[in-house]
């Protein structure tokens, strides 16, 4: 597959276009007998401002789907368009620029830099996009960690670390927030706090959130729930009455 730079950066899709659009996307790993079909022809459209939960058992292709939308991996077949950018054939430099400008990532294991304080972890990304350090402090306050700004990750709880990770993702004001099992390593109360922070980013900040999890309870809080199985999109349902994060239990 030939890779080329993304076409001219646009602010986003036109109002009648979806923010995220996947057309017949397939992803294979390996070859021959060792070949694994992680995704097999997935079609998907996600409008701006939607909170989407992707469910599915291990090996169903959830993380692969997220990595493709995140521009971390490229599809074997099909097209992916996010905020007007064609990701399928973009080169590494363009994908880096895309991730920097449009995406926020929240990882299961937080992946904060242990030698930087909470504020500095967020400010590192703020510097990356040219935002002032005060913006990092503000975002940290938005996730309820104003008083923990100068603490190092090792001195923080898992929930706090994950909220720092969310602040780090939000500080560059991305159009899309991708969260891979963000509550996977947290207890219920902490998980709810993290979930609430993500919902605020979506409903108050107008961002599209794609949350990958195998925890079906979280699906109750989503605007839309996707079910993946064996690399295929098996179910796609809108949730007319999302439950507030504080009310879910698992």
């Amino acid at each position: 597959m030939s890779h080329h730079p993304l076409h001219a950066v646009v602010d986003g899709p036109s109002p009648d276009e979806p923010l995220i659009h996947l057309d017949a996307v397939a992803k294979q790993y390996g070859s021959g007998e060792a070949r694994v079909d992680a995704l097999r022809g997935v079609d998907l459209s996600v409008p701006a401002g939607q909170f989407v939960v992707v469910l599915g058992p291990s090996g169903s292709g959830k993380t692969t789907l997220m990595n493709l939308i995140g521009g971390v991996e490229s599809p074997t077949a099909g097209t992916i368009t996010v905020a007007g950018h064609d990701l399928a054939s973009a080169d590494d430099k363009s994908l880096t620029e895309y991730r920097r400008t449009h995406l926020g990532f929240v990882f299961q294991f937080f992946n904060l830099i242990p030698t930087l304080t909470a504020l500095e972890n967020v400010a590192l990304v703020a510097e990356l996009v040219g935002a002032p350090r005060t913006r990092a402090r503000d975002v940290l306050a938005e996730v309820g960690l104003r008083d923990r700004a100068d603490h190092f990750p090792a001195a923080m709880s898992g929930g706090e670390q994950q909220r720092v990770a969310i602040a780090r993702a939000l500080v560059k004001e991305p159009a899309v927030l991708l969260a891979d099992e963000p509550t996977g390593s947290l207890d219920l109360d902490t998980g709810r706090q993290v979930l609430a922070a993500l919902h605020r980013a979506c409903h108050d900040g107008g961002r599209t959130v794609l949350l990958v999890t195998h925890n079906s309870a979280i699906a109750a809080t989503a605007d839309r729930v996707l079910h993946l199985g064996s690399g295929r999109l098996e179910d796609d349902q809108l949730n007319p009455r999302p439950v507030p994060p504080e009310e879910v239990a698992w």
């Binding site: 971390v72 430099k93 920097r100 992946n111 830099i113 030698t115 990356l128 090792a154």
Partner: protein, 787 residues
């Protein structure tokens, strides 16, 4: 091979680059040990073998009734043989070429009991003839002399022709030094001939010395030298020289001692670097395999088995490197010995491969690898199964860097810079290893370049600042000082008389044989200055200036009076007027009048046999020398520039040496930085993948890692340069003697060049690690916990 053993090799294979880098470092250390130690041994054996074969003198007594000294000395316990001889210095010519020659008297059969010669081509002296000479091989090589050729030597009555019977090697002139004060002499300006006593007897008076020579028995008591010295001085000898003090032996000994020192220093440096690398690599391997260790422990593997498993990783690096290094070292030792003995024309080369050297070399690597691996292995053995099976340990606590604590405003730096600063303290062992590696490499490079700088600066000082003559002119016969105006030929701007004589300087029990040079008190041919740079004046009478090394040798101070013995009963007591700083030799200086009186001259007209000449700027040096040689009564006119040029030529060897050191330093720095950097990136793969996923470009991540590395290199350079300076100073000081005064001088630019070279090596060393950043699977960020 056990399953665990197989995993060991797979682990090594998975880290082939690092394993090879460390193995090569061990191999270099062991090879350098074997090469330098065996070369040291083989060269020593080559010299000693020749000394034994040719009965090299263990002690030479000069002056006094040498026949009697030899006879009485022969009877002393521990003395195997003794002989007496006469040695003289004169001018010689071969065709139009003129130079100085030392003529060593031999018995008529050409076979003395001490200091024999080895005929390399032609024959020995014919006992029935007195017009023959044997030519020392270095002189023969320089002038292209072969048996059958003729040379003319200046005698008291004019030129005498000698027929070359053979070309010979002499243990006394393996390194053909004119004296301890003149260890380097161009062979086309000075050389050695061996002739019968009759020839030496015809040399001009005042240019010959009587000597008694002694060879010890193999089981000679330790005080044999002392007893012989006491006997010789008691009978009237003016000075004695032990084997170690003889110029050839002293110069060669300094040289090969360097091999001995290197055989210790190099292995220490390289094995230390390899050990640090093994420790860093193994620590990372163990951190990665914590869960595997947990499984093994839970399955019943004893702690000692775990410890042995990881210990064997260090041992493997050491064994592979050692075996490789020992083989290369043994081969290199033989080559070095052959090249060295060929370079200085030692006729007998002894190559010895010592099993003990090989055995020590083979053991060095595993010992170093084992020590380096011990602590990480012990830590692995202490891991509890439950703890280990929890998986990777989350990253430890962060903290402010030392720099930020010392300079709080640093906290306002861009966060990426703070990250680089703080990452230095994240894995102190790794950071310290990098710093030590850089420091060792910088030290290695600076020591070698420091030697070059020192020698260059001191040569410049000797030939440009201290000595100002362009040529030395030797006359056939002593001439009145006023007569020297004849030397003011076209191209000459100044002529000054010089009167030199061999003397023994005596202060109580301290004696030193040297040359006393007489010059005008207002001489413009020589600058005298103290070590502090203060100008000194040659005393008009009754005083002497001494070269700085003579202060401790004679245990004298300014104002003290010393005895000066010029032989043949001529002595004087002179006051020490000062100590003059000169890089080469340890001479004494006095006024012409003082030296003239010392050598027994009397009468209203002072005569001299040599003169110092300075040329006009831009003069054709060769043409002026030819004109000077053509002046009636001139035996030799020697261009002073030639000695400077010869010394500069020797610098070529230093450049080769420094180049090798630079290469070795680069290999060492490369190996260690490569291992620490690749380990650093491997350890932080998830973190770096996260940064890339968050939108940090590959060049920016590379710059972040490079910045950390640069800080470590700079931190390592500071102690490295300081350590290098101190080591170079100690190294040069160990070479300093009355032959050479090597006070370390390093040009400021050398520090900059060394730092730049190490920095360049550091930057190149990290290229593989930076390339691996480009290959990091970004999916790691979503799948794995950072460690």
């Amino acid at each position: 091979m056990s399953i665990l053993g197989r995993t060991l090799w797979r682990d090594a294979r998975a880290r082939a680059g690092q394993f090879i880098a460390l193995t090569v470092t061990v191999a270099l250390g062991v090879a350098l040990f074997g090469a330098s130690y065996d070369a040291f041994g083989s060269l020593t054996a080559s010299y000693r073998g020749l000394y034994d074969r040719l009965a090299m003198a263990d002690l030479i007594a000069t002056g006094g009734p040498t026949g009697q000294i030899a006879d009485e000395g022969r009877r002393l316990d521990g003395v195997a043989a003794a002989s007496a001889r006469t040695v003289g210095e004169t001018a010689m010519k071969v065709g139009d070429h003129r130079q100085y020659a030392r003529i060593v008297g031999l018995p008529s059969d050409g076979n003395p009991a001490v200091d024999k010669v080895m005929v390399l081509s032609g024959t020995g002296l014919d006992p029935t003839r007195s017009d023959q000479a044997l030519v020392e091989q270095h002189l023969a090589g320089a002038l292209g002399l072969e048996p059958g050729a003729t040379v003319d030597v200046a005698t008291a009555t004019g030129w005498a022709t000698l027929h070359v019977a053979g070309i010979v090697a002499s243990p006394e002139y393996l390194w053909p030094a004119r004296s301890r004060q003149e260890p380097i002499v161009p062979f086309d300006q000075w050389g050695v001939l061996f002739a019968t006593q009759k020839v030496v007897d015809e040399l001009p008076a005042g240019q010959v010395e009587q000597q008694a020579l002694f060879v010890h028995t193999t089981d000679a008591p330790a005080d044999t030298d002392a007893r012989l010295r006491e006997l010789a001085l008691g009978l009237g000898a003016s000075s004695t020289q032990t084997l170690a003090e003889q110029p050839s032996e002293a110069t060669l000994n300094e040289d090969i001692t360097g091999f001995g020192e290197m055989s210790v220093a190099f292995p220490v440096l390289f094995l230390l670097a390899a050990g640090l690398g093994v420790s860093v690599l193994l620590s990372r391997l163990i951190a990665q395999q914590r869960s595997q260790i947990g499984v093994l422990r839970a399955s019943g593997f004893a702690r000692s088995r775990i410890r042995r498993h990881y210990l064997s990783f260090g041992l493997a690096v050491g064994i592979v490197g050692s075996v490789l290094g020992a083989v290369v070292g043994a081969l290199a030792a033989a080559s070095i010995t052959r090249l060295y003995t060929a370079a200085i024309s030692v006729p007998v080369t002894v190559i010895e491969v010592r099993p003990l050297t090989v055995a020590i070399g083979v053991l060095m690597g595993p010992i170093a690898g084992g020590i380096a691996a011990y602590l990480p292995s012990a830590r692995a053995a202490r891991i509890e199964p439950a703890e280990a099976m929890r998986g990777n340990v989350p990253a430890g606590g962060g903290r402010l860097s030392w720099a930020e604590r010392l300079v709080p405003p640093l906290r306002r730096l861009p966060v990426r810079w703070l990250a680089a600063l703080r990452d230095l303290g994240r894995n102190p062992r790794r950071s310290i290893s990098t710093v030590i590696g850089v420091a060792l490499a910088a030290m290695l490079v600076l020591v070698s370049w420091g030697m070059i700088d020192t020698v260059q600066i001191l040569l410049g000082q000797q030939f440009l600042t201290v000595q100002h003559q362009d040529a030395t002119v030797q006359l056939m016969q002593p001439r009145p000082v006023d007569d020297l105006s004849r030397l003011d030929v076209d191209g000459v701007s100044a002529v000054e008389p010089e009167l030199s004589t061999p003397v023994t300087l005596i202060n109580g029990g301290h004696r030193y044989a040297t040359t006393l040079t007489g010059l005008r008190p207002d001489t413009t041919m020589h600058t005298f200055a103290s070590s502090g740079g203060t100008a000194l004046t040659l005393p008009a009478s009754g005083g002497v200036l001494l070269a700085t090394p003579l202060r401790p040798i004679l245990d004298v101070a300014v104002g003290d009076t010393i005895e000066v013995d010029a032989g043949s009963g001529h002595t004087a007591r002179l006051r020490v007027a000062g100590f003059t700083e000169e890089p080469l030799g340890a001479f004494g200086y006095a006024s012409l009048a003082t030296v003239s009186a010392l050598t027994g001259q009397s009468g209203p007209t002072m005569t001299v046999s040599s003169a110092l000449v300075r040329f006009e700027p831009g003069a054709d040096r060769a043409a002026v020398i030819t004109r000077l040689t053509g002046v009636e009564g001139v035996a030799v006119a020697l261009d002073a520039q030639e000695l400077y040029d010869l010394a500069q030529k020797f610098m070529g060897l230093f450049y080769v040496f420094a180049g090798v050191m630079l290469a070795l330093g680069a290999v060492m720095a490369f190996a260690l930085i490569f291992v620490t950097m690749t380990t650093n990136v491997s350890e932080r793969a998830v973190e770096l993948a996260s940064l890339r996923t968050l939108g940090m470009s590959r060049p920016r991540v590379s710059r972040l890692v490079t910045a950390e590395n640069l800080i470590l290199i700079v931190v390592g350079l500071v102690p490295g340069l300081a350590l290098g300076y101190a080591t170079a100073a100690a190294f040069m000081s160990s070479f300093s003697s009355d032959l050479f005064q090597f006070d370390l001088r390093i040009r400021p630019a050398t520090f900059v060049i060394t730092a730049a070279a190490i920095l360049a090596v550091g930057l190149v060393s990290q290229v593989p690690a930076l390339r691996s950043i480009g290959r990091i699977d970004l999916g790691l960020a979503t799948r794995q916990r950072a460690s």
